[in-house]
Symmetry: C2
């Protein structure tokens, strides 16, 4: 049973904090990233993405494929993610020019599709004989999945079905190989599962559902599949180990899995697909596996920022409670994938826990991935950066004190763009009788079930959320976040005693009703489980959904000598429009330890009382290279 | 000018704590390790060391070299380190049987030496044409160095010069290549430098001094040497990168170096050789470089245990202040090398700082390397072990919660054996007018300058050190450790006001004098520099030279939820002969945080007052697998 579903992309007309970000995507990120795809962005590494599609078209027409293929084996997916983001953006900011660019790109993609529906420039420009020989590494299904997502998004956003038809033909090609010809196998990098579920929902094509089900059920069944596949060919992409099953979440059938392992992005993409399938097919066994994996992540393997995959080795989940701040990997894409997983879980079950994590990941793990001007991006999101060590120490090479411009392996920036542009889908949901406000986001929402609301709020810096019911007649379910120790609900100016059920208050909404939710605006200290060795004796600071951090620039360029006094309540400042794109800072009482040239000393050091200032984690690293720390020693 | 020198091995007749360890080496370690060399030790990996020497002899005589060479390219050095340890041990525990075994081994080694003096089984059993082609990786000079050290030790200990002659012939062979034929180059792994300095001192052969000087001055002069060497041959040992100059301390001439970099054992072996040469040749420029490197290590890159080389990647020094407890490398051999370096610095300059570090490394970083029964050994010495993470997390694979039996690359166990067996050389020193007590070690000492003393103490668990002057007439210089906040000196039962100069009190010693030094016996909290990010907000616990740690077994199997109350003074227990081979424990006041299933929570957790028990760091991991932590959060 589908508990509720995401709203349509066009249903949400954003405003406020989210709109500001969506405008950044529109004005900075999409043009820059398109420039990258065309190899015309200044200072960026060569991408060649669009040239690859053009060259594939030439190869198919028997023409000279010019300079051939360039880039990673999954280079095509950059075009797909850009197209998906552009599609979402077009519903927020209609733009004929951008639509023309997208249409032109879709035409180029059409030309790159083989007659049997196969679509992948790497194995079309040359070496066609290598198609499907390397499901382990070659990312053909991964690239198809991303393009399917783009196709669904573009169809939903603009109403044009050319790319959707291309990808339905591509799905047929895949169906033919895996279902009709029973050639066996499953993707090394999961992604197509959740994409096929989208294709099924948008097109109604049952073959997409069948294929998703096949890939999910096939995964981990034959644990020697990739080994045998490797033996049967004489080439490799990276020489990856086909026996590293945990890395690819295929050590056992997915229904038997309980522990989130391996490459974190692969993991959450897979789990999201599983949860979508479980909801769509009422598969309680599969949902139970999803729930176990959800608990494995959120109760034992997740940073306070919603970052997941704590180790650089394999960009992977480590073991339980191994959550180092300074050597964290916590890839931006993994937090995005965690939002996908959370949203898919909400399709199965109304439970605020999922939306809590979705919100945590968005405002911290995801937003931190992009510089405030939209021009630089983090893959890796440490919770502590100390210049001189971060990016320098052999074990901290991946933890950079500054967002780089672009990456040769450019998965995160377009992923951020598509996520932010489709924020409404994660913020609002609906079923026949109820509309759901999972996250608080200003703007108008027109639900398919007829309800229409307008939300006004300064969230995440204002804690009053106003809902005007433009068209009612159904229930409105509003999430009460777990972090809000108190809350109040006013309906038409009268306080109502409403009790949350599984994290939501349910209110009958009539036309013209005004509902005001007031959440707890206090800044809070957050304590870590004593089972996390790296965090013992330390505290973090949160306000609403935002995790805060301390940066050197606000604290005399030395945060290492600060200990936070938790006996005095933290104080949030008024909203400062001029700072870091608009933030409230938090001031706390602290002790500063005197410095010394000795490494170790046996006299208790001098400590001076002082105050310390924290800023939202997602804004860190926007004022030059300096120290940053989320978890601070406590006194 | 030589400020003072190590005593002769035979000068110190040990007693007490040290004798107990030396007996362990004699009774457990030497027999077991000899069994390993012969491939007759139960449960140990194949070593083949002695077989290699036998086979090399056969090859030289034109016989069939049987099963050829087996093992690492530096396998020969295991025999050398064992022989050196056995030599030292023979002065403490004369043993005709052991001496016979050593003599027989030396005969086998003699047979393995080529007519030109070349000695290395790897390139004698076969592939002679590869000799000297790979100074970068092939460890020929390293193996020679270790055998030279064994030769000096055996000659000093037993008076037999066969091995010394073998190694003088080997030195001639090296001299011929590098000095006479000017073939160029220097060792990838320093070691022979300090060994040649020993050879020079024992034999007086000026060629050894010249060679040491050559290798030290040549190092880092031609920064392309290893690259060119690699280009001129068609083979490699491990495919090591010949351009990774920092790893091998050859990025610039050693006199210009200021920062301790790269593989930590290589580094301190080199620096020890440099310091020996500086003292021997009055080379103040070289000594200045040694002093800068000393400061780089001890002021910015050393664990409280005297462990150095904090990262597993390259077994190397990281950057300043990057001293993680849980992912530490801190190889046992590196702490041993740090003792060599300290001792060599004392040859240049009387300064208690060197002996302080020497003692710190010995009682913590070195002794922790061996299980109390002498049967298991750590390479890697973390300052925190949490079963479930340590040895399991991808970034903690090297940090084991239990000492393994033996290693295929077996450098540490025989290194511990030779260090402990020659402890007197580090504890006592002398020059014409003065005898030096650098460390406190029960036993009789007969100095070359005629002085004879007897030291009685229960150190490191008793803090009264009694010196009976059997033969005086010179000064006795006794170190006052920096950790001792107070001290008193009684001479013939009368308290004397003596003021330390550079960490030593100087006393005129006459025959029959009784000198009693009383050091501070209080247990102390030790605070880390706020520049060490991983240690902010935490404290350690020390008493005398011993660093303490908390183990789960003494603390309800959960040390992660403990915070130490530094407002109450720690209390040392009486010496308990039955615990951990005889220790004093320390009890501190603590708070225990309540456990929770949540990763993060915003209510201040319950905390209960309790006491916590610490044991000496060197004894950890002797009571089964359990949690261990040196640095504890502080309240």
């Amino acid at each position: 049973m589908i508990a509720q579903k995401q709203i349509k992309q066009s249903a949400y007309n954003s405003d406020g904090f989210i709109k500001k970000y969506q405008r950044l995507i529109k004005e900075e990120v999409l043009p820059y990233q398109y420039g990258v795809l065309c190899d015309q962005a200044e200072g960026a590494e060569k991408s060649h993405v669009i040239a690859n599609f053009i060259n594939a078209g030439k190869a198919l027409r028997g023409e000279d494929p010019q300079d051939g293929f360039y880039g990673m084996v999954f280079q095509d997916s950059d075009a797909a993610k850009w197209l998906e983001a552009a599609a979402y953006s077009l519903t927020v900011f209609p733009d004929k020019e951008l639509e023309k660019i997208a249409d032109d790109l879709i035409n180029i993609i059409e030309e790159a599709q083989d007659s049997d529906g196969y679509l992948n420039t790497r194995f079309t420009i040359s070496e066609k004989e290598k198609r499907w020989q390397n499901l382990h590494e070659a990312h053909e299904l991964y690239c198809s999945g991303h393009m399917m997502e783009a196709a669904c998004a573009y169809y939903e956003a603009v109403g044009k079905d050319k790319l959707l038809k291309i990808m339905l033909k591509n799905a047929d090609c895949i169906y033919n190989r895996f279902i009709i010809q029973k050639k066996g196998g499953f993707p090394g990098h999961p992604e197509i599962e959740l994409a096929l579920m989208k294709m099924y929902r948008v097109s109604g094509d049952i073959k997409c559902l069948e294929l998703a089900k096949y890939f999910i059920n096939e995964r981990g069944r034959d644990t020697h599949f990739f080994e045998n596949e490797a033996k049967s060919r004489d080439w490799t992409v990276w020489g990856s180990n086909p026996s590293d099953l945990d890395y690819m979440q295929c050590g056992k059938p997915v229904r038997e899995q309980s522990i989130a392992t391996g490459h974190a992005v692969r993991a959450v993409y897979l789990y999201a697909g599983m949860a979508e399938l479980a909801a769509e097919t009422d598969d309680t066994e599969l949902f139970s596996a999803c729930r176990r994996l959800w608990d494995s992540i959120t109760k034992r393997r997740m940073y306070i920022t919603g970052g997941i995959g704590s180790t650089v080795l394999g960009e992977a989940f480590s073991v339980d409670y191994d959550l180092p701040s300074d050597t964290a990997y916590a890839e931006t894409c993994a937090s995005i994938g965690l939002m996908f997983f959370a949203s898919a879980m909400l399709r199965n079950e109304i439970n605020g826990e999922y939306a809590d994590i979705c919100e945590r990941a968005f405002y911290n793990g995801v937003l931190a991935g992009m510089q405030l001007d939209g021009k630089r991006f983090f893959y890796v999101n440490p919770l502590e950066v100390i210049p001189g060590i971060s990016g320098e120490s052999p074990t901290h090479r991946h933890d950079l004190p500054q967002r780089p411009k672009w990456y040769a392996c450019a998965c995160c920036p377009p992923n951020v763009a598509r996520l932010i542009s489709s924020f409404g889908k994660y913020a609002y949901g609906e079923n026949a009788n109820t509309v759901f406000c999972h996250m608080f986001a200003s703007g108008n929402v027109k639900f398919e079930n007829g309800v229409e609301i307008k939300c006004s709020t300064n969230y995440p810096y204002g804690f009053e959320i106003n809902y005007s019911i433009i068209k009612g007649g159904k229930k409105i379910a509003i999430r009460i976040p777990k972090w809000s120790k108190t809350f109040s609900v006013k309906i038409n100016n009268k306080i109502e005693q409403v009790k949350p059920e599984k994290g939501y208050v349910f209110i009958n909404a009539s036309d013209g009703d005004e509902i005001v939710l007031t959440l707890d605006e206090a800044a809070n200290f957050v304590y870590p489980s004593p089972r996390i060795p790296r965090l013992t004796g330390s505290i973090a600071l949160c306000r609403g959904p935002l995790v805060y951090c301390f940066e050197g620039v606000d604290n005399d360029n030395d945060i290492l000598s600060l200990k936070i006094n938790t006996k005095e309540a933290p104080k949030a400042s008024d909203y400062d429009n001029g700072l870091l794109g608009g933030v409230s800072t938090i001031t706390v009482s602290a002790l500063r330890t005197g410095d010394t040239d000795d490494l170790y000393f046996d006299e208790e050091p001098d400590e001076k009382r002082c105050s310390a200032i924290a800023v939202p984690y997602y804004t860190w690293g926007n004022r030059g290279i300096n120290q940053m720390r989320v978890w601070m020693p406590r006194t």
